[in-house]
Amino acid sequence: MSALSSQVLEEIKELPAKYPQPRSAVMPALDLAQEELGHLTPEAMSEVAVALQLDPGYVEGVATFYSLFHLEPTGKHRFYVCTNLSCMLRGANEIVAHVKQSIGVTHAEQVSADGLFSYEEVECLGACEFAPMMRLDHKYHYDLTTERVDQLITERRAPTPLTPTLSPGGERERKPRAPRKKKADG
């Protein structure tokens, strides 16, 4: 049994032809893998390497360089809280402390007991005029307060139709999904 579904592996094999040189496909391929599994397991990275005819060590080297690739399991919803200067000056550290306490974790590698949440302190997300802010489930959330954080958590704990469609780590929507359309980012 491979870690990645045959559908995803097929999609990955089609990627290299879309770039002037095939190697550019490595990050889009890792994206697809992470989308499916929630995080990049060693098996998944090896399968990406085989599909792209690259060395597994090379693929892992790329995956470990970039902070949006997760090599460990994450919560279904991951709080990416900006703590860089503009956000720090407007209370980001209190927001981080509140997130940690509310989801019951002490560090970024930990996942909440119910598997729903994890968090990470990140560098400037380019929305400093809305500080303090964070990225959660592919959306920016602005002017954060502890109340707003509570609300975001409550919404995600409640069995609303929103939650089941999101994959672990909040990275993209879960399958099944149609093969990618040829679009600008194809």
């Binding site: 770039y19 002037p20 040189q21 190697r23 550019s24 496909a25 490595v26 990050m27 889009p28 890792l30 994206d31 080297g61 790329v62 360089f65 970039y66 902070s67 949006l68 690739f69 990416y80 703590t83 860089n84 200067l85 503009s86 720090m88 000056l89 407007r90 550290n93 209190e94 402390a97 990140v122 560098e123 400037c124 997300l125 380019g126 929305a127 400093c128 005029e129 809305f130 500080a131 990225r135 592919h138 959306k139 920016y140 602005y142 679009k183 600008a184 980012d185 194809g186």
Partner: protein
Amino acid sequence: MAERRGSFGDQPQHLLYESKAGGYTALRKALFDMKPVDLTNEVKTSGLRGRGGAGFATGVKWSFINRDAPGPKYVVVNADESEPGTAKDRYILENSPHMVVEGILIAAYAVGANQAWVYIRGEYDEPSRMLTEAIDEARAKGYIGPQPMGKDYPLDIRLYRGHGAYICGEETALLESLEGKRAQPRSRPPFPAVKGAWGRPTLLNNVETLATVPWIINNGGAAYAKLGTDKSPGTRLLTVSGNVRKPGVYEVEIGQTFRHVIMELAGGPPEGRKVKVFWPGGSSAPVLPESMLDVTTDAEALAAARSMAGSGGVIVMDDTHCVVRAAHRLLKFYAYESCGKCTPCRVGGDWAVRTYERILANQGSQVELDTLQRVSDGLQNGRCLCGLGDSAGWVIDSTLRHFREEYEDHALRHECNVGAVPANA
């Protein structure tokens, strides 16, 4: 329309507001009324300087590409915006993506490229979506494709998503990343204009730089050159953040004072507080104290004040915050984001962070202050392949220069004389 805060596009006199969806008048003019070399010359005449951070003359950069060289050439758009305190590219992409699309198409035609790639930071979900929609619209209208507006000159734009690494904003690291590698800067020469993306001649420009191009083509380079100052013409988008009442992205004519930008446009610090220090051009620009609020926003005035215009990110800190803690936070950023290729940057950043930690834990002495100065010197003046090391050095150097007393309070007297201290900073 995305949520927005600031003045950009609110008033019709604002330059960047003018070119909107459905317009593409500048593209039509470029494709049918002008020769590629005229386009480059028009941009040269405008005096436009790159808005990504380095401020290089845009028209001159365009002229470095040999339009007649055989084989593919590329335009690569830097939409990696990650300089702390900078949000203007996101703002443009969310609010006026067509301006960017039109600017990209004109630039591609000018330098002889048929394909453009937008390298956009991975966290920019909304800007990506807006830009993709704009590209699709432009394609549907026949502005992008094998024969844009009927002209026999294929033009195409595609997106490449980044995955979280500040260094990808540095142009050669960006190219490495686009090629599917770890993003470590290349040594130059060769410059991207000769050997860029996938080994081909490449024009690399920032989002805001290209968004300015349609206006210049519509109104002429001379009209643009009349705005701003002689050497820094035009307007630019300043992101004002931190301790101000009205943070936002503000379009200003270059040459205004920071007092105007911070105290008037952004409403100044909260009630009862004073501006203590500001970063005039992103976290990499050396800090200026409150006494220098009358410095103007042009590159020349900022250089004279021993800082730089950088990315236009104006971070304001008031007198309830501690400079040493702020510098510590930024050094953590530079140390974490170092790609590890150059030794001074890889080692120096961590060393500085550890030194700041000792000082902030009241274990400092003159030794720590001297260490900071030494690390700062070791990071600067081209000792590294790219500017990241210099930036880290400038944070230390400029905060030490303007706020030595605050450092001495911490390191020598083990006290912080600043009101509010951010928790666990």
